[in-house]
């Protein structure tokens, strides 16, 4: 086992005092998994703690600042960019025991939760009161609200409802040194002072440890329906996607898959679309049953001109389940399509999607690589999986080259390196392509205001 970063005996004793019993862990075997996340990078932490209350977090951050000990907040370690890898050792703070839903208020339309609550649990509890917590990353059933906020997770519903940051009203966080800050309010509007809540959204654990969140709830939409369409090629599908908005329809979800992605799913499960299809769209609507029925008819008319080769309407939960299942299988299917993959989630202005797709196709052809292309095209967000066999040096080099070219392509179209997964470690080397030294300097100064000694998740994000 790679040696555990050493922890001075007095620090260990102090941690044991704040976190008695099994609330602190120090053996390499027990800490092993806490050094990894879905990026599949790994480094051992020096200690793992599991706070149950604010007081413990406060005491920890006072100690950590005093001893200059790195601190890494951890939800469920499902981020894909290495945000939870303790590259310089330090204490992992697991939110697994900070998992209470404290309040769901049907009059104020807010929920108050601890950061370790699994997002789907919050949604289910809210739905019981006919309330709706809108953000829904594909990892909604196994990632936490705290992790979602700290990465500003997106998801399929973002096209209509926005991303996680659009639903966070307030939060409590502990800063290095142990100071407790309460940012935002329980109100749906608030313009007093700088927006510190938004600063925490997408901060990737670099500013402080969030201990409580107040999030916005909406009335639960009464009905949903989906139109699934297949087209001969990518361009036809993306032009249909544009037609949806031009027809005045704002769908809840507008998902896209290109041929290679569809084939990957077809390899592990039966699929409903014809074999000849070169691209697919899944378009979901929500609202009152009457509005959904009317919009569904509009949607069918709006997507006709692009010439779908196959279509299916799904207006019952079972039918919807059936058309969405292939989309859900895409992630596991991608792991079976080749031994290794490089994943990026570049995002471009909506109007540049077709150009981006053509550019990515060209990269795949020129470098003879299989690239799975799919994504939340309603947001201009493209998931690009560059499939390869890393054991083959030439293929690995081509995959790296493809990645570089695709990131540059996205930027040249006015897009961004990441739409939802964040920077972490994996996009850090490319950051200067998108941010100028002036902006990075400003970010460093903002971080220093929260974290003067740089102990919060060091070496990540910006």
């Amino acid at each position: 086992m790679s040696p555990t970063p050493t922890l001075p005996a007095d620090v260990r004793r102090a941690l044991e005092k704040i976190f008695p019993g099994d609330a602190a862990v120090f053996t390499p075997e027990e800490m092993f998994v806490y050094g990894a996340d879905a990026s599949r990078r790994h480094a051992l932490p020096s200690a793992v703690v599991r706070p149950e209350n604010l007081e413990q977090v406060r005491a920890l951050l006072a100690l950590a600042q005093d001893k200059r000990l790195p601190v890494l907040p951890r939800g469920r370690g499902t981020n894909t960019v290495g945000d939870c890898t303790p590259v310089s050792g330090g204490v992992v703070v697991s939110a697994a025991r900070l998992n209470r839903i404290k309040d769901i208020d049907a009059d104020d339309f807010v929920a108050v939760v601890e950061p370790g609550v699994v997002t789907a649990d919050l949604q289910a509890e809210a739905a019981g009161k006919r309330l709706f917590y809108a953000p829904d990353p594909a990892s909604v059933k196994f990632s936490t609200v705290g992790g979602n906020v700290a990465t500003c997770a997106g998801g399929m519903r973002a096209v209509k409802y926005g991303v996680t940051r659009d639903h966070v009203l307030g939060l409590t966080a502990v800063l290095p040194g142990g100071e407790v800050v309460h940012c935002g309010r329980r109100t749906h509007k608030n313009v007093v002072g700088l927006d510190l809540v938004r600063l925490f959204c997408g901060s990737e654990g670099t500013l402080g440890v969030i201990t409580e969140l107040t999030v916005k709830l909406l009335p639960l939409p009464a009905a949903t329906a989906t139109l699934a369409l297949a087209f001969a090629d990518v361009d036809a599908a993306l032009s249909a996607a544009g037609d949806v908005f031009r027809a005045g329809i704002l769908p809840v979800a507008l998902e896209f898959m290109a041929r290679e992605a569809m084939a990957a799913v077809a390899a592990i499960s039966p699929v409903p679309w014809p074999e000849t299809a070169g691209a697919a769209l899944l378009i979901r609507l929500d609202g009152s049953p009457e509005a959904v029925a009317a919009d569904l008819a509009l949607l069918e008319a709006a997507t006709k001109p692009a010439g779908p080769v196959w279509s299916r309407r799904a207006a019952t939960p079972q039918d919807e389940e059936a058309v969405w299942e292939p989309r859900r299988l895409l992630n596991p299917a991608s792991f079976k399509a080749a031994p290794d993959k490089i994943s990026d989630d570049v995002t471009v202005p909506r109007g540049k999607l077709r150009a981006a797709a053509v550019g990515i196709r060209t990269v795949a052809d020129e470098l003879s690589l299989k690239i799975l292309l799919f994504g939340h095209v309603g947001d201009g967000n493209l998931h690009v999986n560059i499939m390869h066999d890393a054991a083959n040096a030439d293929e690995r080099a081509r995959a790296q080259a493809a990645r570089e070219r695709i990131l540059s392509l996205a930027l040249s179209l006015g897009g961004t390196l990441s739409g939802e997964h964040g920077v972490g470690l994996s996009k850090l080397p490319f950051l200067d392509r998108q941010l100028s030294p002036i902006e990075r300097g400003l970010m460093a100064r903002i971080k220093a205001a929260f974290d003067p000694y740089g102990i919060m998740n060091p070496g990540k994000a910006y």
């Binding site: 086992m1 092993f32 998994v33 806490y34 599949r40 469920r76 990892s139 059933k141 196994f142």
Partner: protein, 395 residues
């Protein structure tokens, strides 16, 4: 959720394992993780550490071996959730099988703390060296008897008319370790019901444990021997119906048909078809509701209920509105695997978590269709709450 086609977590060591992608889907389903918040006990942690050990990047220290080989409830929920079908119990069984010292350690543990897990230990005793100390057996038996008596529900369902569609068929009862050793009344009750159905109950042809536990215990050879003994017994009895009333046994027995255990091609079909649950056989049998009926009964779905909610449909029909079952509230009881022996504290934490979710009021009952779950939930339930196999509600 499991379907009839997916109860595969009793198929240890078949084929190469894919690599864990660290996605985290298995965390919220793992009862050990949800009850404790200890991520090191999660399936992801086990697969990740085991892989590093396999590649020489981590040492298989005593601590690592213990974590990997002793803390798992064999509930199979990770396998159902994992996009790659990774199965915690398979991994645990492999590691146990690779550690010759493991059986000896279990033996010692059993003698020290058998307690509630003694029926399981009886089974294990068969593969372990030495004789079973009488003192340990009687101590364990005593513990179980004392515990069980108070909380078993008094019968409140009485057969009115029997469904006789199966009349004239021959059947053997596969009661399983817990019923054989600890709750003989269940088997007697099952025999009585079968008689009512007009099914001819043949004498026990010499069945032994289904072998599930031995597989989990990392004793694949002993497991295979037991499986073969059961197949032989069934053949000797003339391949009759095999009636089970424990979900875990049914799951274990079903898996025989997927492994090469010497069942001939033309036996595979009859093995699967003749393996029937008692609930299924009861068909449209009707029951009268007696005085002792509780206001509410919670159905606890066993993790090994894979393939058929025959129990649930029967109970819904005969218990009516009283029966409460919520698809989103199906905690594991914490009995499974060897955790009861190796980590009684973890097993208890999981049971406590299950009862916190059910939150039964005094006078209410919890029924299930797995012997292990009954044993476990009975021990953890508060006073005044009856816990039993649904067979015990029938008089």
């Amino acid at each position: 959720m499991s379907t009839e086609l997916t109860p595969v977590h009793c198929l240890h060591g078949q084929g190469r394992r894919p690599t864990c992608i660290l996605c985290g889907r298995c965390l919220p389903v793992c009862p050990l993780f949800t009850a404790t918040g200890r991520e090191e006990l999660s399936p992801r942690a086990k697969f990740f550490l085991a892989k590093a050990v396999g590649e020489g990047r981590a040492e298989l220290s005593a601590k690592a071996a213990e974590m990997l080989a002793t803390a798992c409830l064999s509930c199979g929920r990770c396998e159902d959730a994992c996009p790659l079908g990774l199965c915690g119990p398979d991994l645990v069984a492999e590691i146990r099988a690779a550690h010759p010292g493991f059986a000896g350690m279990l033996w010692k543990l059993w003698v020290e703390r058998a307690g509630l897990a003694w029926p399981l230990a009886m089974t294990l005793g068969k593969l372990l060296p030495g004789n079973i100390p009488i003192a340990a057996v009687s101590r364990a038996k005593g513990a179980l008897a004392a515990l069980g008596a108070g909380k078993a529900p008094a019968p409140w369902l009485f057969p009115k008319t029997f469904d006789t569609r199966q009349a004239g068929k021959k059947a053997v009862i596969f009661a399983g370790c817990v019923a054989e050793h600890a709750n003989p009344r269940w088997k007697a009750e099952a025999a009585r019901l079968l008689e009512g159905l007009g099914v001819e109950v043949l004498p026990d042809p010499g069945f032994t444990c289904c072998g599930c536990t031995l597989g989990h215990a990392g004793a694949p050879q002993a497991q295979a021997a037991m499986q073969q003994q059961n197949i032989e017994a069934w053949r000797r009895a003339g391949r009759p119906l095999m009636v089970v009333f424990c979900a875990t046994c049914r799951c274990g027995l079903r898996a025989y048909a997927r492994k090469d255990l010497g069942l001939a091609m033309d036996e595979l079909g009859p093995w699967r078809e003749n393996l029937v649950s008692l609930a299924e056989l009861l068909g449209d049998t009707t029951f009268e509701i007696g005085q002792a009926a509780p206001p509410a009964v919670r159905y606890h779905r066993p993790c090994h209920g894979a393939g058929g909610n025959q129990d649930l449909s029967l109970l819904r029909r005969i218990m009516g509105e009283r029966l409460v079952f919520r698809e989103n509230e199906t905690p594991c009881c914490g009995f499974g695997g060897l955790t009861k022996l190796t980590h009684p504290d973890l097993s208890e934490a999981v049971a406590k978590n299950a009862l916190a979710i059910y939150a039964p009021k005094p006078g209410e009952q919890i029924v299930t269709g797995c012997s292990g779950c009954v044993t476990q939930l009975r021990a953890a339930a508060p006073d005044g709450v009856g816990v039993g196999h649904w067979l015990e509600t029938i008089g």
